[in-house]
């Protein structure tokens, strides 16, 4: 080993080992939700239509009482790559909602039945009303919640994820959260109006346990359990956050094939063009 190699080795050792101390302590504090297998993960993944429909049902019967879905339109329910409702079914769902509209010719605001073009209405008129109803907190809108929540993957997983295309942290977290209610450990004092949740940062969550077995009736024979409800509604929210995901992955594959073939052609063109420069290779 030359002296310069010693310098490199020493610097490497310092650079790699010095910061390792505290990371272990931080990792121990947050509990990573279990990674579940989802129908839409990976380059060819597609949503499970029946699961999205069940998830919508859970949203409408449970979550909707407090949480908005205000970026999603009723027409989205009938668009390709979604829950697969017909336009008539989506219109029927829309009709079950009352939309505040106006002002009309008399200058009055009025309520009318929902239409396909409407978005899911928020469950409260404004944030202050939400705070007044919900112990001072505003239940977050769920339109992009599946992308707005995550957990730290840590080294080396964040590098491995690039190759495995794992990007369902948010959905995994939602399932873990919905199932994560337990009694607080000995000696933990919760602020009033909160519940203990294993996966919620800080553990004291304002949302009371939303799900219980047999709460939402399913008509397709899927188990009516907390576990199934949590997965279905999380899948529905994954679609709500990324309604064009199936198109994205489909086009992505086409683009990849094109680029790889194009790169191959360019490589051989380059080789031919440069052959006379490199001489007798």
């Amino acid at each position: 080993m030359s002296p310069s190699r010693h310098i490199l080795a020493a610097a490497l050792a310092v650079a790699l080992t010095a910061p390792l101390g505290p990371s272990a302590a931080i990792a121990a504090e947050a509990i990573a939700p279990p990674a579940l297998s989802w129908s839409w993960s990976g380059p060819f993944g597609k949503f499970d239509r029946a699961q999205l429909q069940r998830g919508l049902r859970v949203y409408r019967e449970v979550c909707q009482n407090c949480h908005g879905l205000t970026l999603v339109s009723f027409r989205n329910l009938a668009e390709p790559g979604g829950p697969g409702f017909t336009t008539a079914q989506a219109a029927a769902i829309a009709k079950e909602y009352k939309i505040k509209d106006g002002p009309n010719d008399q200058g009055e605001m009025f309520e009318r039945d929902g239409r396909l073009a409407d978005r899911f209405p928020a469950p409260w008129p404004n944030e202050n009303a939400a705070r007044a109803q919900h112990n001072g907190t505003v239940p977050p809108d769920l339109s992009v919640i599946a992308k707005a929540r995550t957990y730290e993957r840590g080294f080396p997983w964040f590098l491995i994820d690039i190759f495995t295309q794992y990007q369902e942290q948010g959905v995994d977290y939602l399932v873990a959260l919905l199932k994560g209610y337990t009694d607080p450990p000995q000696g933990v004092e919760l602020p009033p109006g909160t519940s203990y949740n294993t996966y919620f940062p800080g553990h004291a969550i304002s949302m009371p346990p939303p799900l219980q077995d047999e709460l939402v009736p399913y008509t397709d024979g899927a188990p009516q359990t907390i576990d199934q409800y949590a997965k279905d509604v999380a899948a529905f929210l994954a679609w709500a956050a990324e309604p064009h995901m199936e198109a994205r992955k489909r086009i992505g594959f086409q683009v990849m094939i094109f680029l790889i073939v194009f790169a191959g052609l360019l490589y051989f063109t380059k080789k031919k063009v440069w052959a006379d420069v490199h001489g007798h290779a």
Binding site: I7, D161, R248, L259
Partner: protein, 422 residues
């Protein structure tokens, strides 16, 4: 060694046009006949890749701007409308967001290549400094672009970074108020960031033209760091560099497409899908990955003013690199000691990037201070001293000799420029 054009207008119209505006022969001289060293490796293709990325950012950005609303009450929803209701809006936005990341990745590779092969040395100092200006403009543009979706990270990044100017003694607070257009980050801040985010890419394009102009005046460096001695050691830009650059551009697009189509949010932050809320501070305010090394330097210094100065100095010091490096040998291939320190410097930058993503506490702070110190020592102490004490390996007399040494003979004379025949 600027390219001399062999362009001869054929048609009478082109002859007429050439006498009035010789732009065709200028383009021919710059991008067809322009002689490039024949021994360039693939690390030299990143200039072309960067031009492509700039073009992608400008084109996607112009279309996004048609659908975006720069208002604190509407920005977040307008971005989501682009994602949901604009035809292929999701593709435009993901291309733009991930394109920014890939733009920086290419820029960093381009810079490290310049450092490894000593491309900043006489006579390429101005070329290098223009590159540092481009980096600075990219950082400003990227930062303001990140603010536009008006999510939690957008808002708090804007707040943290603009507040840095508050560290300036006496006038700091006034400057911050002036930057914000008010007494807090608000609608005027978002409006001006949007305006500047639209302006700066065209400033970048202008400086790129100067950068390319300077490059074509002094010629490209090459892996030996020895200037081409004759026409035999160069090949015309087209088709040689054109086809090589095109190949690597497409390979780079595969990388971009991997993120755009399969991992579009991997390089972003989940918190930025939460609408901006001035009353709730995110647990960790973290910039985009490409700013992390600078962020680590900022936080490594215990005083706010000191951190800001270090942050600025970490970029400004690059402009002085041509004079801080005292070695007369350009390429690290012939500088055994510098080569080691170059790779240590790369690791230091990566380490700083990793620390920038970690909370500023405990061992992380100590490590960040150590690496920050090394970052500056590399420029201020190691490079000046290395040039004096290092014994470089014997330089080849010419590019041809260097190539021959490696056992690849150069047989045929350099082919004639092929631009005139089509």
């Amino acid at each position: 060694m600027s390219g001399h054009s062999t362009y001869q207008p054929q048609s009478r119209f082109m002859q007429w046009f050439e006498r009035r505006l010789p732009i065709v022969s200028f383009m021919h001289a710059s991008f067809v006949a322009y002689p490039t060293p024949r021994n360039l490796n693939y690390w030299w293709t990143f200039g072309g890749i960067l031009s492509l990325m700039l073009a992608i950012q400008i084109v996607t950005g112009i279309v996004l701007a048609m659908h975006y609303t720069p208002h604190v009450d509407h920005a977040f929803v307008s971005v989501e409308t682009i994602m949901r209701d604009v035809n292929y809006g999701w593709l435009l936005r993901y291309l733009h967001a991930n394109g920014a990341s890939m733009f920086f990745l290419a820029a960093y590779i381009h810079m490290f290549r310049g450092m490894y092969y000593g491309s900043y040395k006489d006579p390429r100092e101005v070329l290098w400094i223009l590159g540092v200006i481009l980096l600075f403009l990219m950082i400003a543009t990227g930062f303001m672009g990140y603010v536009l979706p008006w999510g939690q990270m957008s808002f708090w990044a804007a707040k943290v970074i603009t507040s840095l100017f508050g560290a300036i003694p006496v006038v700091g607070d006034s400057i911050v108020t002036w930057l914000w257009g008010g007494y807090s980050v608000g609608n005027p801040t978002l409006n001006r960031f949007y305006s500047l985010h639209y302006l700066l890419p065209f400033v970048i394009a202008g400086v790129v033209i100067l950068h390319v102009w300077a490059l074509h005046e002094v010629g490209q460096n090459n892996p030996t760091g020895v200037e081409p001695k004759s026409d035999k050691e160069t090949v015309p830009f087209t088709p040689y560099a054109t086809v090589k650059d095109s190949f690597l551009m497409v390979v780079f697009l595969i990388l971009l497409a991997w993120f755009v189509f399969y991992l579009p949010n991997y390089l972003g932050h989940a918190d930025n899908y939460i609408p901006a809320n001035p009353l709730v501070t995110p647990a960790h305010i973290v910039p985009e990955w490409y700013y992390l090394p600078f962020y680590a330097i900022l936080r490594a210094i215990p005083s706010k003013l000191g951190g800001v100065i270090a942050l600025g100095a970490s970029i400004v010091i690059l402009a002085f690199l041509p004079w801080l490096d005292t070695s007369r040998v350009r390429s690290a291939a012939y500088r055994p000691l510098y080569r080691q320190f170059f790779w240590i410097f790369v690791l230091v930058c990566i380490g700083l990037g990793w620390l920038g993503a970690k909370p500023a506490e405990g061992g992380y702070v100590i490590a960040a201070r150590f690496l920050t110190a090394w970052y500056f020592l590399h420029f201020l102490v190691i490079l000046p001293i290395l040039g004096l004490i290092e014994k470089p390996k014997p330089l080849p007399n010419s590019i041809s000799e260097a190539v021959l040494r490696e056992g690849v003979p150069i047989g045929a004379p350099a082919p004639a420029p092929s631009g005139t025949k089509h």
